[in-house]
């Protein structure tokens, strides 16, 4: 049963993990780069808290929040970022390339959308009643292959939920310079029913996602959920071109942690935060002590 406490726990776990990632990155403990999910936590928790065990999630470069909301392990994600053999993909994939159970992410945008559509069709062929959820951002609306996938998903009635997280900025490019026309109409034009929400409240996102996921499962057909959201952090690290005032205003009005946290008694909230902080710190320390991988002879 997901009460307000558990929802807060899930939201705060993502928040604290991502803050720790940004905090520790300058120390050199992680490889490569990262794309944090700060500000968007209610999307992943709201949508993925309804999944059944065999349901499939396909994610993008900004995947930590999706992975953690799916149920992924903190220690193994830290280990992956640190390039350890205990990482989600043994250090081969890194921040953007995760696979665990039925969770898949790839850092190349667009191509994941037909991929997820094909997974949904395979499940339809198996009559498994499994639902596939694929996350994409407003920036990915510029990739042509997603429209090929939407067309086929509608023609062949794939049981898939497309979740657009519109944080209104693609790396540094504001949506006004990148997305013409209407996002909602992009889906309905293909005959894919779509719903949009402008909210950071997990209690608003959850029921909308539940309804759409139920329709996908019961009617074996595609749906889209467009979530207008806010990214509090930089695209990756230190590459935010937006003003501090702008970010402060977003955090002031649209913080999913604040919104859900206000529903808790302060003692409960403090206790949960302390628990999560300890959990994240332990996962970090454990990953730090893990061995580095050995390169296997290339398979061919």
């Amino acid at each position: 049963m997901l009460d307000n406490l558990e929802l807060y726990r899930r939201l705060y776990r993502i928040r604290h993990f991502e803050e720790m990632v940004l905090d520790k990155f300058p120390s050199g403990v992680f490889y490569g780069t990262t794309h944090t999910y700060l500000g968007q936590e209610a999307n992943a928790v709201g949508v993925l808290s309804h999944l059944q065990p065999e349901d499939i999630v396909v994610s993008n470069h900004r995947c930590h929040g999706h992975y953690l909301a799916y149920g992924g392990d903190l220690h193994r994600l830290f280990a992956e970022l640190m390039g350890r053999s205990t990482g989600v993909c043994g250090g081969r994939g890194g921040s953007q390339h995760l696979h665990w159970r039925n969770f898949y992410s790839n850092g190349v945008l667009g191509g994941t959308v037909p991929l997820a559509t094909g997974m949904a069709l395979a499940e339809k062929i198996r009559s498994s009643r499994v639902v596939t959820v694929v996350f994409l951002g407003d920036g990915t609306l510029g990739e042509g292959v997603i429209y090929e996938a939407l067309n086929i998903a509608s023609l062949w009635q794939a049981p898939i939920l497309y979740v657009v997280e519109n944080n209104r900025i693609a790396q540094t490019t504001p949506i006004e310079l990148a997305v013409a026309g209407d996002i909602h109409a992009r889906f309905t034009a293909f005959g894919v029913p779509a719903l949009q929400l402008d909210s950071s409240d997990v209690l608003e996102i959850r029921p909308a996602a539940a309804r759409l996921l139920n329709e996908v499962r019961e009617q074996t057909s595609p749906r889209a959920l467009i979530l207008h959201t806010s990214r509090f952090g930089p695209h990756s690290k230190g590459d935010d071109t937006r003003s501090n005032e702008h970010i402060a205003a977003l955090r002031e009005g649209r913080d999913p942690i604040t919104i859900q946290g206000s529903r808790l008694e302060s003692t409960q909230r403090t206790m949960i935060e302390a628990e999560i902080q300890a959990e994240v710190s332990q996962a970090y320390e454990r990953a730090l002590a893990d061995p580095t991988p050995v390169l296997m002879t290339p398979s061919e």
Partner: protein, 341 residues
């Protein structure tokens, strides 16, 4: 004796019968049309629901097939013309070829992408190319090229049914109407010696490398390496070189282009001391260059002569007169061979 087209078509029928996880996605593949080159003819009638005719969306259907493969099916994608593989490059390179390794060997992508390549039909710059060199050397991607020799249908069926990794299956258009020939019964040649590329995780590779020597001929002084339809031109050149110029050659015909098993080439070039590679793709930075380099690295001064025959570095012209000048032919092979000995 079936031709290559009939052999590939029969192989698809066999694969669909053998394993209900086999699906095929492509454009204009339904009967009675049966695909632009008819390789899928009859499948839609025999296996309704498993032959999925698609919109003109090469990247989309390749991505969809990748998703199907990740979730336990064994999809085949037909790309109507090999020239269009540029449209699926992202799917092949950044998704399909990557998944198994980057997900730490936790997944497999048993997918076959078949496509006709090659010129000599007057289709011009965008429907005549030999594009596979762009996909050679991509880690995680196997590239196969059947020829008229051996069992091209069996090669396709094994790729679909037995190979758990992604395969690009290159079918030269001019092979389609050539009769399939037994490698041990080829006129004027001794029975072929056959090797297989190493495939870790498999008991043995399945894509044969044929080595052919003229029967009752003196020791060969030159090795020709060619694949696909060019193997046929190399065969014709081998006979002309023997009869008209008394130059005796050995012919090495791989059917797996990537990852490449160089040993049979090195073994032959070590015997003959000379190596001529023949390809229909453009000359520069291509397959032949790699074969020559690897052979030179292995043989050093033991390789006395080394040359490539390939298409000129030009788009393929539509005019048959111009096309014949751009693409390599038997004359070019014979003349090049003469200069090497």
């Amino acid at each position: 004796m079936p031709n290559v087209l009939e052999a590939l078509n029969a192989a698809l029928h066999r694969a669909f019968t053998a394993d209900e996880r086999v699906y095929l996605l492509g454009e204009d593949i339904l009967d009675p049309y049966g695909g632009a080159f008819k390789v899928t003819r009859g499948l839609a009638t025999a296996f309704p629901g498993r032959l999925l005719t698609t919109p003109i969306s090469e990247a989309g259907i390749t991505g969809i097939a990748a998703g199907m493969a990740l979730r336990g099916l064994r999809p085949v994608v037909e790309i109507m013309f090999g020239d269009f593989v540029t449209l699926v490059a992202d799917q092949l390179i950044n998704h399909i070829a990557k998944f198994r390794w980057m997900y730490n060997d936790q997944v497999q992508v048993p997918l076959v992408l078949r496509t006709p390549m090659g010129g000599r039909r007057g289709y011009g710059p965008t429907h005549s190319q030999t594009m596979e060199k762009m996909f050679l050397g991509v880690p995680g991607l196997r590239v196969l090229a059947p020829c008229w020799l051996g069992d091209p249908g069996g090669l396709l069926a094994q790729a679909i049914l037995e190979d758990d990794d992604p395969v690009v299956f290159v079918e030269n258009k001019l092979l389609y109407l050539m009769p399939v020939q037994n490698e041990n019964n080829l006129a004027e040649f001794a029975p072929a010696s056959v090797a297989y590329p190493r495939l870790p995780g498999h008991p043995s590779g399945y894509a044969p490398i044929f080595t052919l020597t003229l029967s009752q001929a003196p020791a060969p002084v030159l090795t020709l390496v060619a694949y696909g339809y060019m193997a046929e031109l190399a065969r014709q050149a081998a006979l002309r070189l023997a009869y008209e110029h008394e130059i005796f050659v050995e012919l090495v015909i791989p059917t797996q282009l990537a990852p490449f098993e160089i040993e049979p080439v090195i073994a032959s070039a070590h015997r003959t001391g000379r190596l001529l590679t023949i390809e229909e793709g453009t000359l520069s930075l291509g397959w032949g260059a790699e074969i020559q380099t690897r052979s030179t690295e292995a043989l050093g001064p033991g390789l006395r002569a080394s040359r490539r025959v390939a298409a000129d570095d030009l788009p393929i012209p539509a005019s048959g007169v111009l096309e014949a000048q751009v693409l390599p032919d038997v004359n070019r092979i014979v003349q090049t061979a003469q200069r090497m000995v």
